[in-house]
Symmetry: C2
Amino acid sequence: MAQRICITSQKGGVGKTTVALNLAVALCERGKRVLLVDLDPQGGVGLALARGDTALIGLTEVLTGRARPEDAVMATRLEGLSLLPRGRLDPMDVPHYEQAVFAAGALAKVIGALQSKFDLVLYDTPAGLGMPTRAALSASDWALVIVQTEALALRSLSQLLRVLEQVRATVNPGLKLLGLLPTMVELRKEPSREVMEELWGGFAGVMESTVPRAEVFAAASSRGVPVAFLEGPLSPEARRFESLAVEVETTLNQG
Amino acid sequence: MAQRICITSQKGGVGKTTVALNLAVALCERGKRVLLVDLDPQGGVGLALARGDTALIGLTEVLTGRARPEDAVMATRLEGLSLLPRGRLDPMDVPHYEQAVFAAGALAKVIGALQSKFDLVLYDTPAGLGMPTRAALSASDWALVIVQTEALALRSLSQLLRVLEQVRATVNPGLKLLGLLPTMVELRKEPSREVMEELWGGFAGVMESTVPRAEVFAAASSRGVPVAFLEGPLSPEARRFESLAVEVETTLNQG
Ligand SMILES: Nc1ncnc2c1ncn2[C@@H]1O[C@H](COP(=O)(O)OP(=O)(O)OP(=O)(O)O)[C@@H](O)[C@H]1O
Ligand SMILES: Nc1ncnc2c1ncn2[C@@H]1O[C@H](COP(=O)(O)OP(=O)(O)OP(=O)(O)O)[C@@H](O)[C@H]1O
Ligand SMILES: [Mg+2]
Ligand SMILES: [Mg+2]
């Protein structure tokens, strides 16, 4: 049975999609069969891969009954990595989309029909604690919380942790914290160091792995590829995702 | 009659709350009476001012009938700047809050009761095109679109512009584009320069003002104040908000 991981943060622009994409690639290169699901109504994963929103059918069509789950899953150039994109969505329909994905059991049913073919399912979610994120947390085994090392992102962390507890206490007793992953880390800069110290000192589950702030991410975004796919030798940042994949697998195996 | 400005972006973490807060201060210092409304369920404005979510009553209490609009507005240390905070909101109730704020006419009614006391109303919104943002656009005269100068933020811009047109064509014919405001600009770095060139070359309404990427914002965030309130002489970044305020006023007067 596939393990389902929800990649989430209350704060926006902290690196959720970047981690979802690059972690999926790193897990796949370690031999795992991975399904990456784009739950963000803005289609973050598609945008990161520079595919316009007019392209593929996806979750939107499945939720509205116009396609079967297996028809919406697409292969990628990496053997073993499949993608369930957002699908064609008029941006005026975002409120309807959010209600459809949050409807009781809808997402769990879609992913249930696909789980047998994969070892891991990764959900990329939009910022916030609205309906898409709540739907994903209800249909997940693990929550990977992304924490940008800036004061504002740290302040909203306790709201998210409270929701994880509440979801576990109500609709999904199997939900566990995979860890708190620090992103955009700049240990040479005091504000970032201060946030790391607050994380280590004040929160359980802070991961060993971190994602440094690095120009290579903007370069990868402008080319529309994960960092591992950039030309030339593997960058130190892409290696970071290898060690993150190892840490994730270790935690899942201890599950 | 106060002019209502919705500060919005599809993408997260691009500087919406930072601009909302610092622009409100700059407009107020130019003699305007300003109401800053926090529509973000995470309470971004409160977080930026380092006030926990247990503190103040606000929009949540007004929408649920537990307080009158005028009771929820609070003064700040700056004469002429008032705040309508998010209010006390259990993060598990975010889906209900989003539906309540989006209910037909709800927000317009709350702001309608307050407008006579102000020259300007500024809405800070969460990332995305969900219910809080749609509610704000329906009850606004202007949309100020925040565009981080990174490839990912630019790709989602056309979805937002389509929504502005649709809102104008359906529920709010008076909605106008105030402008596209580039943030986190780093003209010494190629990806940022490339995005600026795409903005100037491909979009109408790009503002003269820009907000540079600068350490002072992280410093202000960790102290929980707008940049204009940091100790010492006014930073060049705080001055940028003065010139942004001038540009905003000029556009409004032409409107
Ligand atoms: N470690 C990093 N160092 C530098 N830039 C990064 C890093 N991670 C992500 N970025 C850049 O920061 C921006 C935001 O990243 P991303 O879109 O992954 O965040 P997100 O949390 O998914 O945002 P949203 O809330 O809009 O979904 C992108 O332009 C991306 O290229
Ligand atoms: N011009 C800037 N230069 C450097 N850092 C900035 C700048 N503007 C904002 N920041 C920092 O970037 C982070 C995100 O800013 P902010 O919270 O204002 O964005 P937002 O769009 O409101 O995010 P959200 O989508 O979560 O509401 C904060 O830590 C803030 O201090
Ligand atoms: Mg994203
Ligand atoms: Mg904000």
